[in-house]
């Protein structure tokens, strides 16, 4: 994606606000086949919102099966609220080389 188009996409997301990140929510961006941040530490009860900025769809699938998003197209979001402490690894089920982890305290 060229930089102009990328800027447009960012602007569109922010203007459309289809999946607003509420106060206290934590955001994870998916871009260039990576989750950012790849390691996240949050308090129990926190909602994490993932947004896919790639032109290729991605998913968020926990290794232990606790959560699994549908395929997120470009600019789609998915959220999950972590209510219990633990270490939760997840991958993209379409591109399983994409890995990240969330630690809930």
């Amino acid at each position: 994606m060229n930089s102009k188009l990328f800027a447009f996409v960012l602007l569109t997301i922010s203007a459309a606000g289809l999946h607003p990140v509420e106060a206290g929510d934590v955001s994870v961006i998916i871009k260039n086949f990576d989750y950012s941040p790849m390691e996240l530490s949050i308090a129990a009860g926190t909602t994490v919102v993932w947004k896919n900025l790639d032109g290729e769809p991605h998913t968020i699938a926990s290794v232990d099966g606790m959560f699994r998003s549908p395929a997120l197209d470009q600019n789609d979001s998915y959220s999950f609220t972590f209510n219990r402490p633990g270490v939760f690894k997840y991958i993209c089920s379409i591109h399983p080389k994409m890995k990240a982890v969330i630690t809930v305290k």
Binding site: M1, N32, G55, E56, P57, A71, D73, H95, K97
Partner: protein, 302 residues
């Protein structure tokens, strides 16, 4: 189910743009579809369509329905229709029911009467036993992998997108690998074999997961056969390798191209000038001669 209704049902599964191949003694030579004179080299045995990605609507190709229709028109215009078509996966972009419905509707226009489909990872993001299997699971008892014989050739459909190795490569898993061993066991080495699956069955580029974890084990099962053709999709471009009597070949997509291995931050859609797009999409056609040798020809929409 009667043979006729089965054919009708299979026809609903569809076919897309492909590649014409010529395989002689396990070695393929590709040639331009416009120059192919199939009636002179024998009967078209089958064609391969791949990566139709119905549901994709981004800049790399805002009209994947149009390019699939163009592919189908080109196939239907062949002077002789192959007996059947293989779709090597990523029928849809997001595994949605509506995308599968559209794909089936489009593919039903093919004059080819029978379609065999293996899933791509985009077709099964909703997990096992969901949309893909509800539509294409019947020939395999919902496993996805199965085999059949046609015109003396043994065809093997494999699924390498439901299990993954930790490094991101595709995998068959133990059950399927054991089934494959059994399917090949005791089979005459003189019978031509065609294996098809979505992700490449040999490692093309590990950093992008372009390969299958058990690739070497699969190849070792196939080496004793005199003519083996391995057909894959997934990478939206033609990459070919010959190893002994085994020809490995990946097909173009009918939807959008992808970068060459390592040529971008990731294996996403490749944006090219609109005039270049038709030349990067296509299908593959396999032609058999009287000696049961196969020829593969890759053809584009240009």
């Amino acid at each position: 189910m009667t043979d006729t209704s089965r054919r009708d049902a299979l026809k609903c599964l569809g076919v897309g743009a492909g590649t014409l191949f010529t395989l002689s003694g396990g070695v393929f030579s590709a040639f331009d579809m416009a120059e192919a004179r199939i009636e002179e080299v024998g009967t078209p045995l089958f064609l391969q369509i791949s990566d139709t990605h119905i549901g994709f609507n981004k800049d790399a190709n805002p009209d994947v329905i149009g390019t699939l229709n163009g592919t189908i028109d080109a196939i239907n215009a062949l002077p002789q229709q192959p007996a059947f078509a293989l779709h090597t996966g990523d029928v849809t972009h997001l595994s949605k029911a509506g995308e599968f419905d559209t794909a089936s509707q489009l593919l039903s226009r093919l004059r080819v009467s029978e379609l065999h489909v293996v899933p791509g990872e985009h077709d099964v993001t909703d997990g096992p036993g969901a949309e893909f299997f509800a539509r294409f699971g019947k020939p395999s008892g919902n496993r996805g992998y199965y085999s059949f014989d046609a015109k003396g050739v043994h065809f093997i459909a494999l699924v390498n997108v439901m299990n993954f190795k930790p490094n991101g490569l595709g995998a068959l898993g133990e059950d399927q690998l054991n089934w494959l061993k059994g399917d090949l066991s005791g089979r005459s080495a003189s019978q031509p074999i065609v294996v098809f699956a979505h992700m490449p069955l040999w490692t093309i580029y590990e950093p992008w997961g372009w390969g299958t974890g058990e690739g070497e084990e699969i190849a070792s099962l196939l080496r004793r056969f005199g003519s083996v053709t391995v057909l894959n999709g997934h990478i939206h471009q033609i990459v070919q390798k010959v190893e002994g009597n085994i020809l490995f070949h990946t097909a173009r997509s009918t939807a959008y191209p992808q970068p060459v291995a390592g040529g971008a931050p990731g294996p996403g859609p490749l944006l090219v000038p609109p005039a270049q797009l038709p030349g990067m999409l296509g299908v593959t056609v396999a032609v058999a001669d009287k000696k049961r040798r196969l020829s593969l020809t890759d053809t584009t929409l240009a």
